[in-house]
């Protein structure tokens, strides 16, 4: 395999994951929290593909594609919620959104 070993990918993926986790914990806008969750999902995808290359089996790539589909569904539902909140002219701040009831 040309280029760096798998360890480098693991370290990069760990850095990306903790960046995304930091975004989820620090930011209060639900939009940016969703974007940070996307970063975390993608770091997991990177690791899945790296290990699929290490083991020479394509199952990890299948898993990564499934993760992509789940992430797309998660974005649809999350953005639907955010749009529903935005139509009610609520402050988009997860610290102030205390109830899910209509």
């Amino acid at each position: 395999m040309l280029g760096p070993d798998i360890q480098w990918y693991v370290i990069l993926s760990a850095l990306l994951f903790s960046t995304g986790a930091l975004g989820v914990m620090l930011r209060r806008s639900p939009l940016i929290i969703l974007l940070s969750v996307e970063i975390m999902l993608n770091s997991a995808n990177l690791l899945l593909i790296a290990f699929s290359r290490l083991h020479g089996s394509e199952d990890g790539q299948i898993f990564a594609i499934s993760v992509m589909a789940v992430a797309a569904s998660e974005v649809v539902v999350g953005l639907g919620l955010i749009v529903a909140l935005g139509r009610r002219h609520v402050d988009l701040d997860v610290d102030r959104l205390r109830t899910l009831r209509g």
């Binding site: 040309l2 280029g3 760096p4 070993d5 798998i6 360890q7 480098w8 990918y9 693991v10 370290i11 990069l12 993926s13 760990a14 850095l15 990306l16 903790s18 960046t19 995304g20 986790a21 930091l22 975004g23 914990m25 620090l26 930011r27 209060r28 806008s29 939009l31 940016i32 974007l35 940070s36 970063i39 995808n45 990177l46 593909i49 290359r53 290490l54 083991h55 020479g56 394509e58 199952d59 299948i62 990564a64 594609i65 499934s66 992509m68 589909a69 789940v70 992430a71 797309a72 569904s73 998660e74 974005v75 649809v76 539902v77 953005l79 639907g80 749009v83 139509r87 009610r88 988009l92």
Partner: protein, 184 residues
């Protein structure tokens, strides 16, 4: 020589990946954050190509960088320019300290686990054929060994589409009923 080139591409892509991820987390305006995430996804696709995941890289650019991010940008534009407070201002500071500590703990945990426990097993990649990760072989695997995952994925997408429609139409109904209440 080829190895050196791959290392150069890897470093550029990894650097772009980390910088754009930090930009997503730190930008005030959600629109710029979403644009930075597109850069993050594109540089991840380059890394996928280096790992010979060609189909996944193409799917990453088309599905994520294309469809999902366009949806994000539409929603951000629809909601308008909400004034965002800076991530570092406001809120109790112990919250920020705790978040940074927790993020560092995740990082240290992963690196220590990989470095100590699995470090020796990670350096000899298995040999692969030329068709590894090509659309043909991924498709064959999806329709033979992983047929259940394929079908479940389609059901998940269907449920998500129904959920999106329900959430959107519910908001419209309550809006019009609120207007009716105001008129009455």
């Amino acid at each position: 020589m080829a190895n050196f080139l791959v290392w150069c591409v890897w470093f550029v892509a990894a650097f772009a990946c980390l910088v754009s991820a930090l930009a997503v987390v730190t930008f005030r305006n959600p629109f710029y954050s979403a644009l930075a995430l597109i850069g993050n996804l594109a540089s991840l696709a380059v890394l996928f190509l280096l790992l010979s995941g060609e189909f996944v890289a193409a799917g990453q650019v088309l599905v994520y960088g294309g469809a999902v991010m366009v949806m994000f940008l539409f929603v951000i534009a629809y909601l308008g320019d909400k004034s965002e407070d800076s991530p570092w201002s406001g809120g109790p500071s112990w919250q920020i300290v705790g978040a940074v500590l927790a993020g560092g703990a995740i990082l240290a945990e992963v690196i220590v686990v990989v470095g100590l426990a699995a470090g020796n097993f990670l350096s000899s990649p298995a040999p692969i054929t030329r068709s590894f990760g090509s659309p043909a072989s991924i498709g064959r695997l999806f329709l033979t060994d992983h047929l259940l995952a394929f079908e479940v994925t389609s059901i998940v997408l269907l449920v998500a589409a129904v959920g999106g429609v329900v959430l959107g139409s519910h908001a419209r109904v309550t809006e019009s009923s609120l207007e009716g209440d105001a008129r009455a």
